[in-house]
């Protein structure tokens, strides 16, 4: 910005401001006296045939009010920023006011949050007050993806089912909220080919007891044990350390229909839970952890 502003413009604006104020004072003074004919009590104009206006003088204090505004504006320009780059003797700034208000808010709400932050999550689960605050935080920060009831939608995990892709203890949930998560399912479409993808999909469906073609299940199982087992485990129960989901339960992040599973295997999935440490402080994340846990209890 420095190319566009120089000390000259500060002075220019300050000068325009001051000259305007002085001009106002001079104008007021010059307009306070008017030469009129001694006989005429009206302004001399006539409207609508017979409407005339009395030229009554205003009360003297009225003109003082004008001068007081001029004194006020000069005092204001000394105390507050407004005259070019002059910062004002009071040192007021918008940032300063924001900080002051934040301190005020911290003074008001800080002790409550600190009290909750020092309480174990297990204890918070029994505190309706803590959960009520947690719900408000959830509705404002999480419900956009996980829905107002926490049950999520396609691609966004259901937090009410007790099925935790990354682990369901308080510490892990807290880490998930704080730092976020990146869930990656690599694409296997090219490596396996269409038929094998279909076979694996049938096997995956069979793991949770969904209807599946027995022959394809047998063929798919073979491929699964070679290709998928590393992340999802031999029994298909997943691995919370990698964020690999449990394939044997009824929770499907992206859907359980065959075409959806085929799409997942072919193209892979890339899921993102954003980190919230920049948005929410520790006490709030602590309260959210308790609320999220309460959803599946």
């Amino acid at each position: 910005m420095s190319e566009f502003s120089s000390g000259f413009w500060d002075l220019y604006i300050a000068l325009v401001t001051l000259v305007s104020i002085v001009a106002c004072a001079v104008f007021l003074k010059s307009q306070s006296v008017r030469k009129v004919g001694a006989q005429s009590a009206t302004t001399g104009h006539t409207w609508d045939e017979d409407l005339a206006e009395y030229n009554n003088p205003l009360p003297l204090w009225w003109s003082w009010m004008f001068y007081i505004t001029i004194v006020f504006s000069l005092a204001y320009l000394v105390l507050y920023p407004g005259l070019g780059s002059w910062r004002g003797t009071l040192g007021w700034s918008q940032i300063g006011q924001l900080k002051e208000e934040q301190q005020q808010a911290d003074k008001q709400f800080g002790p409550l949050y600190r009290k909750f932050a020092a309480t174990e999550v297990e204890a918070l689960l029994k505190s309706p007050e803590a959960l009520a605050i947690g719900q408000k935080l959830f509705l404002n920060n999480c419900a956009q993806c996980h829905a107002s009831d926490g049950a999520g939608s396609r691609g966004f995990p259901n937090l009410t089912a007790g099925a935790w892709q990354w682990g369901g203890d308080a510490k892990t949930i807290k880490a998930t909220i704080t730092d976020g998560r990146t869930g990656v399912m690599p694409p296997f479409g090219a490596a396996l080919g269409e038929q094998d993808v279909k076979n694996v999909a049938q096997y995956v469906r069979s793991l949770s007891g969904l209807t599946a073609d027995a022959i394809r299940v047998a063929l798919g199982k073979e491929i699964y044990q070679k290709t998928c087992v590393a992340c999802l485990g031999a029994d298909g129960k997943g691995n919370p350390a990698l964020g690999a989901p449990n394939l044997t339960d009824q929770n499907w992040l992206h859907g359980s229909a065959e075409p959806v599973i085929i799409e997942t295997i072919t193209k892979g999935r890339n899921s993102q839970m954003p980190a919230h440490k920049a948005v929410l402080d520790e006490a709030k994340i602590h309260l959210l952890t308790a609320y999220v846990l309460s959803l599946s209890k």
Binding site: P59, L60, A147
Partner: protein, 447 residues
């Protein structure tokens, strides 16, 4: 025409020093009416703040918590319509009264008039009536003058301070205000309002009406020839003076001396006239003493003065009355039928529709329940509008007194429901209370 060329020009200031007005005390029917209104309005104002209702201040405008309490009623920001209607009623009432009998509001009920009347009474008790006050002001500085002046200003200031505290007491509970150290803003507003009272009623007086008040000026637009205004009966009074061949006006000047705005009503209707009728009372006293008929100055219409028929019930009055009556009845009915529960339905936007166990389609809504009563209540949430539609899970929610709860609600329908969006309706009902029920529309989306 150029002013400079005109002969006999005079340099005149556009401003003038105000000439102080010393209204003379007056007794009579209209003065008594004004005092009755002074008592009525001030008992309500000073006393109202101390009334208690439901263990709280009966009339309290709690701005910090955005709740206005008016006896049994609790108003929320959503109820601002009532304030709007109240202002419309006030404006229409002003129009109606002004059309019928001129500046009734100004003369009898306006706070400027009422406080000036109180301050004038204090002034009169301490400094005496008009002549004594004029003598005191003209006289040299003396112990008597200093004593009387400081006593007057002292009492004025105390009354003003009390007025300021009472005013703030409608926004911060007045018992807290007087029993503990008030906050910075409370102190500021109490002093500000107190100073305004002292300045306006003690010093500014008629200047507020003459130079500041916008209503004073536009009320004349509601006058017509059938409006009752304070009028001097010129035909009866002129030529003024004492002796044979003169009219009823003895030119005693009492009507000018009692006038709080310092005008001569015998010059006809003037914009300064606030319609206080002090000159009627003053003139009647004189007429009685000199044995002439009363009402030389009286409320009369221009038509009556011209010897024509006065029509009180003219279209203007009828229209004002009809609108005023209709809006007042509507407001009363609306307050009477007000359901002390407000419901907002917000549909979750990210998750359009989800399939759940048993082949059902689920939509999620947030219901904001505002319990506007001062008792905790439980509400039962139901939904209608589609075959087999139901609220899934817990559908009873408790809301504490005068609080708001945000409730996520799951609504399920059969998967066989046609794709697209369907209008549905939530019904929220208070448990155990008759008639507290709100219906609110929403949309259910299948796929």
């Amino acid at each position: 025409m150029k002013l400079d060329d005109a002969p006999a020009l005079e340099e005149r200031s556009l401003y003038e020093v105000r000439e102080k007005i010393y209204p003379r005390a007056v007794r009579g029917w209209f003065a008594a009416s004004r005092w009755a209104l002074v008592w009525a309005t001030q008992l309500v104002f000073y006393g109202g703040a101390w009334l208690t209702w439901n263990d709280r201040q009966a009339v309290l405008f709690d701005i910090a918590r955005s709740k206005f309490y008016l006896f049994g009623l609790v108003f929320w920001p959503q109820d601002v319509i009532y304030l709007t209607v109240l202002l419309i009623i006030s404006a229409l009432a002003l129009f109606l009264f002004t059309a019928v009998a001129g500046r009734l509001w100004c003369g009898y009920a306006c706070p400027q008039t009422v406080y000036t009347e109180i301050f004038l009474w204090i002034e009169r008790v301490i400094e005496g009536d008009r002549n004594a006050r004029m003598r005191l002001d003209k006289g040299e500085i003396s112990a008597n003058k200093i004593l009387r002046k400081s006593a007057k200003h002292g009492i004025w200031l105390l009354l003003s301070l009390w007025t300021g505290i009472t005013f703030v007491g409608y926004f911060t509970p007045i018992r807290e205000l007087v029993s503990s150290t008030p906050g910075a803003w409370e102190t500021f507003w109490a002093l500000f309002y107190g100073f305004a009272t002292y300045g306006n009623a003690g010093w500014m007086r008629e200047q507020v009406c003459k130079y500041m008040c916008p209503y004073a000026r536009f009320q004349s637009a509601m006058f017509d020839k059938d409006t009752l205004v304070i009028t001097y009966d010129r035909a009866r009074g002129e030529p003024r003076g004492k002796g044979a061949g003169k009219g009823d006006c003895v030119d005693c000047g009492i009507c000018v001396q009692v006038c709080p705005t310092g005008i001569d009503i015998r010059d006809g209707l003037q914009y300064e006239c606030i319609g206080c009728a002090a000159c009627i009372d003053g003139c009647d006293q004189v007429m009685e003493r000199v044995g002439r008929p009363l009402k030389l100055i009286r409320y009369a219409t221009t038509h009556a003065m011209e010897g024509k028929r006065t029509r009180i019930l003219r279209p203007r009055v009828l229209v004002y009355s009809a609108i005023l009556g209709a809006i007042t009845v509507a407001l009363a009915a609306s307050l009477w039928l007000r359901v002390p529960l407000k419901v907002d339905v917000i549909r979750d936007r990210a998750a359009i529709a989800r399939e759940v166990d048993g082949g059902l389609i689920e939509n999620v809504y947030r219901l904001q329940l505002m319990n506007t009563t001062e008792q905790a209540r439980a509400f039962d949430i139901n939904v209608t509008g589609l075959p087999g539609i139901l609220v899934w899970g817990e559908n009873i929610t408790g809301v504490p007194a005068a609080e708001t709860r945000m409730v996520p609600v799951r609504v399920r329908v059969d998967a066989a429901t046609a794709p697209g969006s369907h209008p549905i309706e939530f019904t929220v009902r208070a448990l155990g209370v008759q008639g507290v029920e709100v219906r609110e529309g929403a949309v259910f989306i299948v796929r």
